[in-house]
Symmetry: C2
Subunit: 115 residues, 2 copies
DNA sequence: CCGTATCCCAAATGATACTG
DNA sequence: CAGTATCATTTGGGATACGG
């Protein structure tokens, strides 16, 4: 992807696609970032609890992608039973700041539609 | 979907999925909303120009979904040649307001990573 | 010009079982 | 507990051509 030849304010711009936007467009990604943002540090199982529609494998894939993109860190503790904690990087936190207003609005909006 | 049993600020919340988030997670949806937001009124062909990676059919599908969800209106002028213009509804504009900071950040972030 | 209809393919996701 | 591996399946999405 990586096709940014434009300024959003310029109606003549070409397009607004970017790698980050492409990642965000994948299922659960925005949700995952928000859950981590709220918890600060969170374990794999906790994420699963919060995202019951995501399968184990999908969640794992998403976390890998987020880590590879530099939005999330993974810390492993060699204990028995094993423990892993995910946390946002600084860039991830910046992203989260822009995401939370969106997600909160989406939730409010949906409740307005439903009620 | 529609599984909202939680408050984002409550670490004990269940999950944050919503129909809106599910729609936003589809390819090009966020981009389309932003392009319409910037142009205010925009024709189908113009959208295609701004999103060259999206096929005609996908773009059409997305616009239908956005219209069905109440974020976009479609106005058709019976002229020759035909003209159609898309515009954000009030809800769509609210969404756009939360989307643009995110998209602009994503673009800036990407340029920081690249340079 | 603005799509829809069709067909087809690749990628994405889910379910499950199994391992360190 | 925290995944990975595997397999099946769906869905998304692209290309194209045609209709209003």
């Amino acid at each position: 992807m990586t096709q940014i030849d434009c300024d959003l304010d310029d109606p003549g711009c070409y397009c607004v696609l970017s790698d980050v936007m492409e990642l965000l467009g994948k299922k659960y990604v925005m949700d995952i970032v928000c859950v981590i943002a709220v918890h600060e540090r969170v374990r794999f199982g906790t994420l699963e609890d919060h995202l019951p529609d995501a399968s184990t494998s999908t969640l794992s894939t998403r976390l890998d992608e987020l880590e590879a993109a530099g939005f999330v860190t993974r810390e492993q503790y060699d204990e028995i039973p094993p423990r892993v904690e995910y946390e946002l990087t600084d860039r991830g936190a910046e992203l989260g700041e822009r995401l939370e207003p969106l997600v909160e609005w989406a939730i409010d909006d949906q409740q307005r539609q439903t009620s």
